[in-house]
């Protein structure tokens, strides 16, 4: 029985679909590997920064210098982590439902413990990111970013 043009079309479409699916899977694997390498590199750089400060703190001659160095160290580490999170995560790429089928953002009311979805992966509806001063665990003045909502 001769193959009809419709049958040929559907056969080719299925092959093309399989090819695209395989390419997407390879891209995802490559992205995961790159993210993992980036993460290790970032952690190593952070460790070196912390080690340098710790060395300087040990070598400091007085308490005032030690306190200043500790505060500077904490602030630089906080900033590096925050900057990386922002660069990595403009639309929360690592924590979307697509990655692993689990919504870790809390933006889906069915999976999270509240909040509402804005569909874009950004801040939950009605919330703002706000810098709030804190006293850190070593008595240094520092700050953290909080999600706040005005009722």
């Amino acid at each position: 029985m001769p193959v009809t043009s419709a049958q040929r079309f559907w056969h080719n479409a299925a092959r093309e679909g399989e090819r695209q699916e395989q390419q997407a899977e390879e891209r995802n694997a490559s992205n995961r590997q790159r993210r993992s390498q980036d993460e290790r590199g970032f952690n190593r750089a952070l460790g070196r920064l912390e080690d340098s400060y710790d060395q300087a703190i040990r070598n400091a001659n007085n308490t005032r210098d030690r306190r200043r160095l500790k505060a500077e160290r904490d602030e630089r580490i906080d900033k590096a982590i925050r900057d990386r999170e922002r660069a990595d995560n403009p639309t929360d790429q690592n924590k979307t439902i697509d990655d692993d089928s689990t919504d870790q953002t809390g933006s889906n009311p069915e999976n999270g413990d509240g909040g509402s979805s804005d569909g874009g992966g950004g801040l939950p509806d009605g919330f703002e990111e706000e810098r709030i001063d804190i006293v850190d665990a070593l008595n240094n003045p520092s700050y953290r970013w909080f999600l706040t909502k005005f009722d």
Partner: protein, 167 residues
């Protein structure tokens, strides 16, 4: 565990007050410090009051900054501040009282006390030597308030200087 900042001024009953335009002890609110450190937008400071038989003067001063009150018969310096800390830390209360007339003397008294919003506190009173220092350990607290004074009376009422600071 980190704690949220209070202040910038306040007291135990009202830890979140704006900085007052007029800084004196009549407002009953004082600067809120981060242990011995400076906040990014507010250096460590205390509210002082210089009280003598000549007059009263108030203002703010940094850690380690000596406040000197000059009187004829009596003079005293009051130092007040609040703190927040995740660990206990030390401050030193320093005083120095001198008569401005040779042959005269000074009768000194001093007192310090602190209270925390968690309910802890301590109190000390003494009639010490004319100069000296006392180390005081202030506990970790989400909000604590400290007050000290150094008080001198000139034996002959011929003039005296009373200096005090928190170091």
């Amino acid at each position: 565990m980190p704690i949220l900042r209070a202040g910038p001024w306040g007291n135990l009953n009202s830890p979140h007050e704006d900085e007052p335009a007029v800084k004196d002890d009549q407002t009953n609110i004082y600067p809120v410090n981060c242990a011995r450190g400076d906040w990014p937008n507010q250096p460590w400071r205390l509210l002082y009051s210089k009280n003598t038989d000549i007059g009263i003067n108030t203002g703010t001063a940094a850690l380690g900054s000596p406040i000197v009150a000059e009187g004829v018969i009596y003079a005293y310096v009051i130092l007040d501040f609040n703190w927040q800390a995740t660990e206990a830390f030390d401050v030193t209360f320093q005083w120095d009282m001198t008569s401005t007339q040779p042959g005269s003397g000074v009768y000194p008294t001093l007192e310090w006390q602190y209270d925390t919003i968690e309910g802890t506190g301590d109190y000390y009173f003494d009639t010490p030597l004319e100069s000296g220092t006392i180390d005081i350990t202030l506990p970790a607290s989400t909000f604590g308030t400290f007050s000290a004074y150094a008080y001198g009376i000139d034996t002959y009422g011929s003039g005296l200087l009373v200096e005090a600071s928190i170091i």
